[in-house]
């Protein structure tokens, strides 16, 4: 008899007789199998999105506009021209990158909502590298800046992870509060060492041209960041479903007992998943400054973190489904900006739809889980 086998825990089954009710943890999807309900979840996401468009029509009507016209303007604005599609793809890129990380975290039941701060510091690091190593050629400078962004974002997430593991500070509060610090850090460097002298707006000087992310399709604004995002989705899809690390994450997401039984170190897994998510968000920040603005600007990451959470949820926390979910939100935002320009419906409708989608996805997951239980 091998002594290395874990000892089976005693299970007190009297619970079920004595107690008039049971307690369950968070209702986040925790299925261990891959293909079983992928399409059902895609359908669920579609349903949640449609339902939120229906409900979001109410405030549009209240403000005296025709929701059908508004949505038509939104669709036209999102995919009406090559330019708008390029714009939407660029918008989706950081969302997808950060969304993959958040999905992995949630899957391991680590509620990391600090993507916003991680994106911010990732952007700072990338900008700093680009602005101080101007002599390097682009082939070297861009990877270096992306790497710097990843390190900074990972480090920022690590702070929250350490606070959680060493001092028991819940990661929700840790990451949330660090978001505000990260955003202020951007303002700080722009008003101090990295600010452009004489600019009316808090921003850094323009990056040297070799540091700009090259266009994917010449003649459009579409940069190669989207390739990175798609790559990240597929890599982490494989990691999640086909590696021991991914298996540990899935175990962590199922039950504490299962994870403990399999000898999963919660400390190590939590730390590494936060690090990965932070690094991905950091890359997102780097991509945003190198590919879209060509400089660091104040508040460039505002709203990105919650977008990432909404996308991860809409994807039902499935790394590969983050891709369509992220694209959807990118196109939605692009369309909303056009809708505001054309018929004067405020673009903050995006947040209304996002919030509603999240609520509906959560409720639908709750219902489906309840069915499974019975």
């Amino acid at each position: 008899m091998s002594t290395s086998l874990p000892k089976e825990r005693e299970v007190d089954r009297s619970d079920h007789i004595d107690q008039p009710g049971t307690l369950t943890g968070s209702v986040l999807p925790t299925a261990l199998d891959r293909s079983a309900d992928f399409w059902r979840r895609m359908a669920l996401g579609g349903l949640a999105v449609s339902l939120s468009f229906v409900v979001a029509a109410i405030p549009i009507i209240v403000s005296g506009k025709n929701p059908l016209l508004a949505y038509w303007a939104l669709v036209r604005g999102a995919c009406g021209s090559v330019d708008s599609i390029a714009f939407a793809l660029n918008k989706s890129t950081p969302y997808i990158l950060a969304g993959v990380g958040v999905a992995l975290c949630f899957r391991a039941r680590v509620i990391n909502i600090g993507a916003e701060g991680q994106i911010a510091v990732g952007g700072i690091a990338a900008s700093w590298i680009v602005l101080s190593a101007t002599a390097l050629p682009g082939e070297l400078l861009i990877p270096l800046a992306l790497l710097g962004g990843a390190c900074a974002g990972g480090g920022w997430a690590a702070i929250a992870a350490v606070m959680r593991l060493a001092r028991g500070v819940h990661e929700v509060l840790g990451t949330l509060l660090l978001n505000f610090v990260g955003l202020l850090l951007v303002s700080e460097v722009l008003h101090g060492p990295m600010g452009e002298v004489g600019a009316g707006f808090p921003q850094s000087p323009l990056f040297p041209e070799q540091a700009w992310l090259p266009p994917l399709i010449p003649g459009t604004d579409l940069h190669i960041g989207i390739i990175l995002a798609v790559l990240a989705v597929f890599v982490f899809h494989l990691v999640f479903w086909h590696t021991p690390f991914g298996f540990r994450l899935r175990l962590l997401g199922s039950t504490d007992a299962a994870a403990a039984y399999a000898g999963v170190s919660i400390v190590r897994s939590l730390f590494s998943v936060m690090l990965i998510a932070g690094a991905l968000a950091g890359v997102a920040g780097a991509v945003e400054v190198l590919g879209v603005h060509y400089r660091l600007i104040q508040g460039f990451s505002v709203g990105f973190g919650f977008n990432a959470v909404a996308i991860a949820l809409l994807a039902s926390l499935n790394p590969i489904a983050v891709l369509p979910a992220g694209l959807f939100f990118g196109f939605l935002e692009t369309g909303a900006l056009a809708m505001q320009r054309e018929i004067g419906v405020p673009s903050s409708l995006v947040f209304v739809i996002q919030g509603l989608t999240m609520v509906f996805v959560l409720c639908a997951l709750g219902i489906s889980l309840r069915r499974q239980r019975i």
Binding site: L23, I113, L184, M358
Partner: protein
């Protein structure tokens, strides 16, 4: 530091702590019943908006306060239904409602007034001097020369404390937060109690928002709560879910912010952005300091299922 500076600092601490205190008291009620109150940020924003718009239209501040607590409660209702009826994750549901509230208030602010942000200059609650008490040294100007809602916030601590510790309803609420099965076995309905607690939390948080829009600033701007709801959550943990201690938590964060505002005038070699970080950093530092000593309600964040 001389006397006027100290008075100024303490007054500012109390002023900044006021909205946090409303939100934190609501959060204590919600979390005592076992529901994480991450959605308070959105409830607060909803309250600030509802109050501001009502006062803009009716010019009646009392109606505005009523409207703000109702708006806060409405946003809370979404969380109550989702977490209790659909057993959704408390944290993520709270976040979803925060985003929803941010979007809806920003949308309606423009949509209700013909597509453009209206210029809002609202009458604000003026300070009320308590006769005799306001002449006390130090305590007088700091505590007894404040606007109405500040008195209300600090007075509310007592009934909330008594409710949670001394009344049957309050004890049942806490029982539901600690062990819903046990509460259920003696005839309480954990689901119903949790929903009511979350909605009451929304009304409190809505009033906290009203403090911002109707007492402090006299206007509404997009996302004006700016993380205050989350700071209140930190204060709840600092105060270990006990109203009086939570008050000290709020005052601590208030003092940190007040000091931060005041330091800017001292000519220290610190930029205003670093200084603006202090409340968040202090909150994090205190949370780290408390560490695992914080004992939250046992069944918090867990859904109750009847067998």
């Amino acid at each position: 530091m001389d006397y006027p500076v100290i008075i100024e600092l303490l007054t500012a601490s109390v002023r900044i702590a006021t909205p946090l205190l409303f939100v934190a008291l609501g959060g204590v009620i919600s979390e005592s019943g076992g529901t994480f109150a991450v959605g308070v940020e959105g409830m607060m924003l909803g309250g600030a908006f509802g109050g501001a718009v009502t006062v803009l239209v009716t010019k009646n501040i009392l109606l505005g306060l009523l409207a703000s607590s109702i708006s806060g409660a409405l946003f809370a209702t979404i969380i109550a239904v989702a977490t209790v009826r659909f057993r959704t994750d408390h944290m993520v549901t709270g976040l979803a409602v925060n985003i929803f509230a941010l979007g809806l208030t920003s949308f309606l602010l423009r949509g209700l007034f013909g597509g453009k942000t209206p210029v809002m200059v609202l009458p604000t609650l003026s300070t009320v001097r308590i006769p005799w008490l306001c002449t006390l040294p130090l305590a007088g100007p700091v505590l007894f020369d404040e606007p109405l809602m500040t008195y209300l916030a600090f007075l509310l601590i007592i009934p909330v404390h008594l409710f949670l510790r001394r009344t049957r309803a309050g004890l049942t609420l806490r029982a539901v937060g600690e062990n819903p099965s046990a509460a259920f076995s003696v005839g309480a309905s954990p689901e119903q109690i949790r929903m009511v607690a979350v909605i009451v939390c929304g009304a409190f948080a809505g009033l906290g928002g009203a403090v911002l829009s109707l007492q402090e600033l006299g206007t509404f701007t997009d996302g004006m709560t700016n993380g205050r709801g989350f700071l209140a959550l930190a204060a709840i943990i600092v105060g270990r879910w006990m109203p009086f201690r939570v008050m000290w938590g709020c005052l601590l964060i208030g003092a940190a912010s007040a000091l931060a505002l005041n330091i800017q005038g001292w000519g220290l070699p610190l930029s205003s952005y670093v200084i603006q970080m202090t409340p968040y950093l202090i909150a994090l530092a205190v949370l780290c300091g408390i560490g695992r000593k914080a004992r939250m309600p046992q069944a918090i964040g867990k859904a109750f299922i009847r067998n």
